[in-house]
Amino acid sequence: MSIQSLESPVRLAFQSSEKVRIRSKGAWISFLPFAATLLALTLHRLLPNGQTTLPMTGRYPLFLEWLLGSTFMLAIGDLLFWPVRRWLRPKAPLLTLGIVTLCVWDLVTLKLGWMPLPYFPGPDMVLRGLVDQRRSLLLNASQSLLLLSTGYAAGTIAGLFSGMSIGWSSKARYWGMPVLKVIGPIPATALIPLAMAIFSSSFFSGAALIALAVWFPVTMLTASGISNVRQSYLDVARTLGAGRLYLIFRVALPAAMPSIFIGLFMGLGAAFLTLIAAETVGVSAGLGYYVRWRQAYCEYDKVYAALIVMAVFFSAVMTLLFKVRDRILVWQKGVIKW
């Protein structure tokens, strides 16, 4: 009790002094995004256009004006509210860099015309592509998501099953390992002709290819995780009266989880690659298909718009997998750094 009464005023004093320090020092940092936006907007308005082949839509300056308002509100919020400050301060330099990048992009394309059209459109055209094509982009993204999740789920389930078999049973290892060693390293994309010959539907051939691409790393790392489980965990469990099922599913599987997640992440990377390759070659839907189609018409603004959607889409899926991992491997916190 005496420790508590000693501790709390000290902690309070420390907290408030930290607050004061952050307020008094570096308040200008929170105005950086606003300043950068102002610069970008001014340059966009004042400089004459170098690329003049296409009509302007005014969407980019509109976006910048909205951004100007938002960053200003954020900077004011930073001064007044502690939670806003705590959120904004660490992110402000990164946000500023992002806005400066937009500005530089605008300069070298639209304003100075250093980059040739139609291959390098400016932010205004790409923004127009994003807005005008939002329905089509969303539709294609959802088709990509369906294909990706079908293939990824199938590959993961198959990989977990074969990986656990190979990792646990020496018989499965004897027969399974050679198959894994021969088939696994073949890039799934090299099997596109085979998949198209086997499956009549392009969706299923795409899903099968993605599943194959995911299956290999998931199997490999599940098997290695299972076969490297500390013998003493299994010994302890056996002296506690554990049967086979308990040993496999309650000891070996959770002990192998960190390794399995490495396989899942590698598999996800392989799945993205295979997804886009399959959509570019055979499947007539999805973001990869959209990019190929727009490129054929030389509509590079839409190509870039699709690439932006792809980046957001993929990193969202990746983030989701990170969240799942953090939840399942919560027991590892502080043991292993990723």
Binding site: D235, Y246, R250, V251, M257, W331
Partner: protein
């Protein structure tokens, strides 16, 4: 005393047990040779000896994790054929399952046997017994070495084993935690009447805890001598009797070391 002991369900009898391992060059190496030992129900016996004298191998055979190359091991008159929840095992490393909280580690034995439903209330009692009820929902990596070893003890006891095998369970702890844990194990032993077989390097620990000390010699592991410890309990670590035994055993081990 062998005859009446073998009838009791928690007595141990080891008869002429040998264990050979195959060395990398294909030759056979004896880890345990000609070991015979009877342990009465509720007895506390310590195995003492230099490293490589087959103490752990012997313990693993009693646990049923390894089979003897020849000879017989019986628990309560029944031959040991494999691991059983009747023989709990504790290692120097607590070997807690890092993916389970303290409570789930303790109840692992109940889950493994599929009796968690009926015996859930006992888990709390075991957590209290080792003084960790406030840490029930913490993961093992957040525990100190002594706390982790206490969880391991509770986990080993949750199935009410008749025999508890302890393979240097306190070896990695600091001196003070170690002495506290010795008292804790003794308290449990006195309260529950579990037969305990403790492997240790620490002679003080052996004298402080056991009814009998089995001294083993290395390569091949053989029983050198069995000492009865008649000191009254609770024992004083610096009583004359204690100190006399201590120097006697030290001398013996030194002698044993030179012979090997």
């Amino acid at each position: 005393m062998t005859e009446p002991a073998s009838i009791d369900a928690s007595s141990l009898s080891i008869h002429n047990v040998n264990k050979w391992f195959t060395a990398p060059d294909g030759s056979l190496v004896a880890a345990v040779e000609g070991v015979s030992l009877s342990i009465a129900a509720g007895e506390m016996v310590c195995l003492v000896g230099p490293s490589g004298c087959g103490k752990s191998t012997l313990l693993r055979m009693i646990a049923g994790l390894d089979a003897p190359s020849s000879g017989e091991l019986h628990v309560g008159g029944e031959e040991i054929a494999g691991p059983s929840e009747q023989r709990g095992l504790m290692f120097q490393d607590p070997n807690l399952f890092p993916w389970l909280t303290v409570r789930r580690n303790v109840q692992a034995g109940l889950v493994a046997r599929g009796v968690l439903h009926q015996k859930r209330h006992e888990v709390e009692a075991f957590l209290r017994l080792v003084g960790l009820e406030t840490f029930a929902d913490v993961y093992p990596h957040q525990l100190s070495g002594g706390m982790a070893q206490r969880v391991a003890l509770a986990r080993a006891l949750v199935n009410h084993p008749r025999v508890l095998l302890l393979d240097e369970p306190l070896g990695a702890l600091d001196a003070f935690t170690r002495m506290r844990m010795q008292d804790e194990v003794l308290r449990l032993w006195e309260a529950r009447g579990t037969t305990m077989l403790l492997v240790t390097h620490d002679i003080d620990e052996a004298i402080y805890m056991s009814d009998r000390i089995v001294i083993m010699t290395p390569r091949p592991g053989r029983i050198e001598r069995i000492l009865d410890i008649d000191l009254p309990r609770p024992r004083e670590r610096n009583s004359p009797g204690f100190l006399a035994l201590r120097s006697q055993i030290l001398e013996m081990l030194h002698f044993a070391g030179r012979v090997a």
